[in-house]
Amino acid sequence: MPISASSEAPPLTVHDLRLVYGRGRDATTVLDVPALSIAAGAQLSVSGPSGSGKTSLLHVLTGIERPTTGLICWGSVDLATLGEGARDAWRRRNVGLVFQDFHLAPQLSALENVLLPLRFDHWRLGAAQRDRAQDLLDAVGLAEPKRRAGVLSRGEQQRVAIARALIRDPRILAADEPTASLDAENRAVVADLLLAAARRSGATLLVVTHDAALLGRLGSVIRIANGSVAPVEAAA
């Protein structure tokens, strides 16, 4: 598994995507996306009221959840046709994820948290991999990589989470409300870090957020209401 610079991000094409929970009369349409197209390396946000399906859209686009019908093509890969194991493997190779509540392993050091995704397919990690993790922590401005994640401040934890998302050089960087549980100062820092990381690697950046400052800095906005997304074409 290469950990050096990744190849170019694939473009995304979505057609007739529907995510429906339940069956028959109890069926609820959670997502309805007739068409969505995102150019490689685009930076865009997903915005809408709570419960409108923002997170579901992110889950479907990153292969965490499989749509009921439709087409989700990242380059030549149609996530809608892949089984769970194949989607996990695809996500491992292509996606870096950042969550609202960081979700670090509190007993592991910051450095070990960053290295964790590499452990999914490596028994021993080499010096190059450790250096890379250290570089990422330096880049996000974390001074003490040996400290346990559980004792870091919230802002520091989110920086570690960003470094973890970047360790496998993802071609798609996805974040779900990455600034929602941070104070104003850290919101700005985290936004800077995500944008800079995506720009530097050429990754496509998808951010679910209702943080106005962050929204303003991203190129396009996917607006979602009641699960319905108006047709969007986002350029890089």
């Binding site: 996990d88 007993q107 995704p117 452990r119 999914f120 397919d121």
Partner: protein, 406 residues
């Protein structure tokens, strides 16, 4: 993949629970180990103590009591045999050596046994570790655990005496029949290590019984030309197995009974095995209960961690990795508990063996044998198999639900 850093972190994170699970599992395994090891130590120790006693001849009565008194020096009033039994035995072929034993006297709580040089040396096979054998009827040799120096004088008492040496009311001290310690026997790991061995003539004389020779003849030991006192037990070492069976047949029925201690022990072990079976079943039931509780705890823990597991999956962990984190975590705990259980079981067995050695007089060797290892391995394998259930549940859980809940 390498789930171990994460497993270590999870164990550290929930260490009080993990420690409690470890402790109950280790304790349950230790119980099982102790039951098995203790029963074997008791069986082997008692069998070893009876090794030198091929055949016991006694007056009709309880065979078990004859063995308990003759081999294990348990106090009891055995019926006595007249000296004609000894004379008859002396005429028989196939006897390598034989010796009468008389009991009843003590010194500070330790048994004083009247016998012959043949018994002390097991027909010449053992020699004193210090000093020499008794050669006159005022001399004695002591077992390795008797706190008497060579040259010390001993005044024995009839019946049980107190540890301070003063006679209890109604018991007679054999004043005027002092024994001098002339030798000390090597350690045997049998109740005889606590005994004082005196010439049988000394005991007969102290009780006013005939000593087998005219008074002017100071020699001791058989053959005895004249009448002697009675004896409750004769120990016989037969020249061959066939001789042993022939001798047993000759002295069985009528005025005497003849007993292979090994046979009596087999009966006792039968009873012991029943007790062991009950205790082993209880230990097994405890283990089963413990493992089920551990399973429930692991399940509860895994459900509490549903979100962590979902996050792992979301950031790309293969299912096998998630499975390994849960399963190997429990396996590590189980294996550590198994090893600790063996160690605790060994310590418990050693402690119990020391206490029981003191109590029974024969050596109990605390040892962990293949049965204990097998039982522990079985427990570990069962634990590992049970842990598959929560691991499979974590493996199958939905990522979306996990990310939402928790």
């Amino acid at each position: 993949m390498n789930p171990f850093p994460l497993i270590g972190a999870e164990l550290r994170r929930s260490w009080p629970g993990a420690l409690a699970l470890f402790a109950v599992m280790a304790f349950a395994i230790a119980m099982g180990v102790t039951v098995i090891a203790q029963e074997r130590a008791l069986r082997q120790g008692s069998a070893r103590a009876a090794d030198d006693f091929d055949l016991l001849i006694g007056a009709p009565g309880s065979e078990t009591q004859l063995v308990l008194t003759g081999v294990y020096l348990q106090e009891s009033a055995l019926p006595l045999m007249p000296d004609t039994v000894w004379s008859e035995l002396a005429r028989r072929n196939g006897v390598t050596w034989a010796a009468p034993l008389v009991f009843g006297d003590t010194w500070r709580g330790r048994p004083v046994i009247g016998t012959t040089a043949d018994f002390v040396t097991r027909g010449g096979k053992r020699t004193p570790e210090a000093g020499r054998l008794f050669q006159a009827d005022h001399e004695a040799v002591v077992g390795s655990d008797v706190p008497l120096a060579i040259g010390a004088g001993v005044v024995t008492s009839h019946g049980h005496s107190r540890d301070d040496g003063r006679a209890l009311p109604g018991e007679a001290r054999h004043e005027g029949h002092e024994l001098i310690v002339v030798g000390r026997m090597p350690r045997t790991g049998t109740p005889y290590d606590r005994a004082i061995l005196a010439p049988i003539e000394a005991v007969w004389e102290a009780h006013g019984l005939a000593r087998g020779r005219p008074d002017r003849d100071a020699r001791i030991g058989p053959p005895w030309p004249e009448a002697t006192g009675d004896a409750p037990v004769i120990v016989v070492k037969a020249a061959s197995v066939a001789d042993a069976y022939r001798l047993r047949a000759a002295f069985r029925g009528g005025r005497t009974m003849a007993v292979f201690p090994a046979e009596v022990l087999v009966q006792l072990y039968g009873a012991l095995a029943d007790v062991k079976a009950v205790m082993a079943a209880m230990a097994l039931a405890t283990q089963a209960l413990v493992f089920v509780s551990v399973l429930v705890c692991v399940f509860a823990l895994a459900s509490a961690r549903r979100r962590d597991i979902a996050v792992l999956r979301a950031i790309g962990a293969p299912r096998a990795f998630v499975f390994a984190v849960v399963w190997l975590g429990v396996c590590l705990l189980v294996c550590a508990a198994a090893l600790a259980g063996i160690a605790m079981g060994y310590v418990a067995t050693a402690g119990a063996s020391a206490l029981l050695s003191e109590r029974f007089g024969f050596m109990l060797n605390a040892r962990i044998g293949p049965d204990e290892w097998a039982m522990t391995a079985l427990a570990a394998v069962l634990g590992a198999l049970l842990a598959l259930v929560p691991a499979a549940a974590a493996y199958r859980g939905s990522v979306v639900t996990g990310l939402r809940g928790g």
